[in-house]
């Protein structure tokens, strides 16, 4: 957010300078003409008027831009502050051990976010691990092998459609189709065959997040300059070798940004996960066990939170989720900039 604001102000400064310059030039030109010809023609007057109007317009436009940018900054800060203020009762009552205590018991007013923190991170990273091979493969195929043609268009639109499907539909589909499949798989490998749980939720999530990394990766791969690739080809490299040593290294920051976008989606996904994660506050024993994520706990318990500390503890859960997302994004940005510098 900070960097966005900085960029905005820099851009504005540059624009400001250029506007001033135009105004100066205009003035200069008018004075010069006034020196040689005593009477200012109607045409020239109109021109001066017009250029003033232009300058004014320029400033109005600039101010609108600044305002829009600022509104976003204020919104994010406002949300963050609201979360903090509303969490204060719970922070006062429980303190910092909220983050690592393992019991979530609304009856006793004992709240520990650890099982949900674990559930969120476990499902998101598991989903990411499952989705990466698919999203990279789709990106390479669409970006490098078949960038044009009806088949690639069809595939591209289908992948993008995955992102457009409402998450509750994934929940239904997961419950009706995926969970029975996972259950029979579980009974084969000898774990308790309950179907719903961390593993099922991660599978659903992985499908939902594929398009983010795939689309961004595809457009990045298409932007690789052809001279680079042609050079490699002319040296006798095969297609795989070109992808491995030219395309992927060139696009890795873009690919990583796409993966980060996927992760953000996975962290916050609520509905589909709530429907198939099994919703238990116990710490999952393995990845097939039922669990809970921060988002799904909020969705489940918010409406009936009938005690002030309970409500506040749920809002604090939102705050933790917010912070986790911000931290992961910041780490991601660091990694991206390191990739780009290298």
């Amino acid at each position: 957010m900070d960097s966005l604001f900085f960029k905005l102000t820099v851009k504005i400064t540059i624009m400001d300078a250029s506007v001033n310059k135009i105004a100066l030039e205009n003035n200069h030109a008018d004075h010069a003409s006034a020196g040689t010809i005593p009477e200012i023609g109607a045409k020239a007057k109109a021109r001066i008027k017009r250029s003033y109007r232009q300058i004014k317009m320029e400033q109005v436009f600039k101010r609108t831009l600044v305002l829009m940018g600022l509104i976003m900054v204020i919104l994010v800060l406002g949300i963050f502050l609201t979360l903090i203020v509303q969490s204060i009762p719970s922070i006062k009552a429980i303190g910092i051990k909220y983050l690592w205590s393992k019991t979530w018991d609304p009856v006793q007013d004992v709240y520990g976010a650890f099982p949900f923190l674990l559930g969120t991170l476990l499902t998101s990273f598991l989903a990411l691990a499952i989705s990466i091979p698919f999203s990279i493969a789709i990106a390479v195929y669409l970006g490098e092998y078949y960038p044009k043609g009806w088949l690639s268009n069809f595939l591209k639109n289908t992948v993008e459609l995955i992102a457009a499907v409402p998450s509750v539909i994934y929940g239904f589909w997961g419950l009706a189709v995926l969970v029975p499949l996972v259950r029979s798989f579980e009974s084969k490998i000898g774990v308790e065959p309950i179907g719903v749980g961390i593993f099922s939720a991660s599978l659903i999530l992985s499908i939902m997040i594929i398009p983010y990394a795939a689309s961004l990766g595809r457009s990045m791969i298409q932007m690789v300059p052809s001279p680079l690739k042609e050079g490699a080809f002319s040296l006798g490299a095969t297609r795989w070798e070109v992808i491995k040593s030219v395309v992927l290294p060139y696009t890795r920051s873009g690919l990583f940004a796409g993966i980060l976008l996927s992760l953000g989606r996975a962290l916050g996904e609520t509905m589909a996960v709530t429907m198939i994660i099994g919703n238990t506050s116990l710490i999952p024993k393995n990845i097939f066990a039922p669990g809970n994520t921060m988002a799904s706990v909020i969705a489940n318990e918010f409406t009936e939170a009938d005690k002030p500390v309970y409500l506040s503890a749920l809002i604090e859960l939102g705050l933790v989720l917010f912070v986790v997302t911000v931290v992961i994004n910041m780490i991601g940005k660091k990694v991206i900039s390191r990739f780009t510098n290298a």
Partner: protein, 363 residues
């Protein structure tokens, strides 16, 4: 350059001001927007229990055609209904549980609980090979949900079901993951019949379940039960009846095994009620009553003169409620709600008579 710097400074300070404004606005949001309940020509506003919503929709639609009073009911959940009443943004709240001590202490004026309907929670299970209806004692039910009984052919279950051939299948517990009145009735029941449950888990609309899977809403729990062989869980009676689910007979306090039905729930409420009606219908003395039942209440302020409400509005509200607990009850059966028992109706009418406007009785 200096000009831009000053400008940036101005922008930043105005941003800080805006943040501060937004901040104070969100704080004042808590104390309540009292205007919404004041407007005279508008509909009566209620909020709360989603369990009541189908019945209320029917009742309010009927009342609007006969008496011309529109009621706008928001099915936001009991807890949210209570907090809206506390903030005085609604004319009435509706809850599946009586208000607890903490909710009471947040109030600025006393609130009346008026029982309007009764519901029940049934125990449903998925044992494809078991054709007979299972019988469950309170002790077995508590042991199942505590995780002490792990297999269906456990001796404790077999002891109460001597003629049923129970399979060697693992028990999978399904419970509500969202906070709900259904969970509240069920856990209140378990707390009453099992000291173990009372000390380890307790009662509430969300509890820390020792075992099992959570499903969101009745449909979520029903889905888990239908899909998982060996699953057992609890859902609302109305939902189970409408979806043709198998459910168990539960032993009541008198020792009889009772099939949950509208009649047996009404029977459970036909007991001597305390004057404020704030009582749990679980495990009542009624010999033919189903033990896992509960009232649902409408909540109103005892003193109806607040926030510049007119006497007319207060009278309209009281008339509506009085209709709901008498003539309005005829719509319950078709929607699988248990009509109020004679004892409950008498108590509710007595409570309505205590409501006042500026200190004088309204009805």
């Amino acid at each position: 350059m200096k000009r831009t710097f000053l400008k940036t400074k101005a922008i930043l300070s105005s941003a800080a001001l805006l943040v501060a404004l937004g901040f104070s606005a969100c704080n004042s949001g808590n104390t309540g927007d009292a205007n919404s309940a004041k407007s005279e020509d508008n509909a009566m506003i209620g909020a709360g229990s989603s369990f009541d919503n189908p019945l209320f929709s029917k009742q309010f639609a009927e009342y609007a055609t006969t008496n011309g009073l529109k009621v706008n009911y928001q099915s936001v959940g009991s807890g949210a209904g209570i907090s809206q009443l506390t903030n005085k943004t609604v004319d009435f709240g509706a809850s599946d549980a009586p208000m607890n001590g903490k909710q009471d202490s947040a109030l600025t004026a006393p609130v009346l609980h008026i029982p309007v309907t009764a519901g029940a929670v049934v125990v449903s299970y998925n044992l494809p090979d078991v054709k007979d209806t299972l019988k469950l004692t309170p002790a077995v039910l508590a042991d199942l949900f505590l995780g002490n009984i792990k297999k269906w052919n456990d001796a404790k279950i077999a002891a109460v079901n001597p003629n049923v051939k129970l399979p060697d299948v693992a028990v999978v517990i399904a419970h509500r993951s969202d906070g709900s009145g259904t969970s509240n009735i069920f856990t209140t029941y378990l707390s009453k019949v099992s000291t173990d449950w009372d000390s380890k888990v307790g009662k509430g609309s969300s509890v820390n379940w020792p075992v099992g899977l959570g499903g969101k809403g009745n449909e979520g729990v029903a889905g888990l039960i239908k899909q998982t062989p060996g699953a057992i869980g609890y859902v609302e009676l109305a939902y189970a009846v409408q979806n043709g689910m198998a459910y168990a007979q539960v032993q009541n306090k008198a020792g009889n095994f009772i099939t949950p039905s509208i009649a047996s729930v009404t029977a459970a409420a036909n007991i001597t009620l305390p004057p404020d009606s704030k009582v749990s219908l679980t495990n009542t003395e009624a010999a033919d009553g189903y033990p896992i039942s509960g009232f649902s209440w409408v909540l109103i302020y005892k003193e109806q003169k607040y926030n510049n409400r007119s006497q007319e509005r207060a009278t309209q509200l009281l008339k509506l409620l009085s209709w709901m607990i008498t003539d309005g009850q005829k719509f319950s059966g078709a929607l699988n709600y248990a009509p109020l028992s004679p004892a409950a109706t008498t108590t509710a009418q007595a409570i309505l008579k205590t409501a006042t406007y500026d200190g004088k009785p309204i009805l």
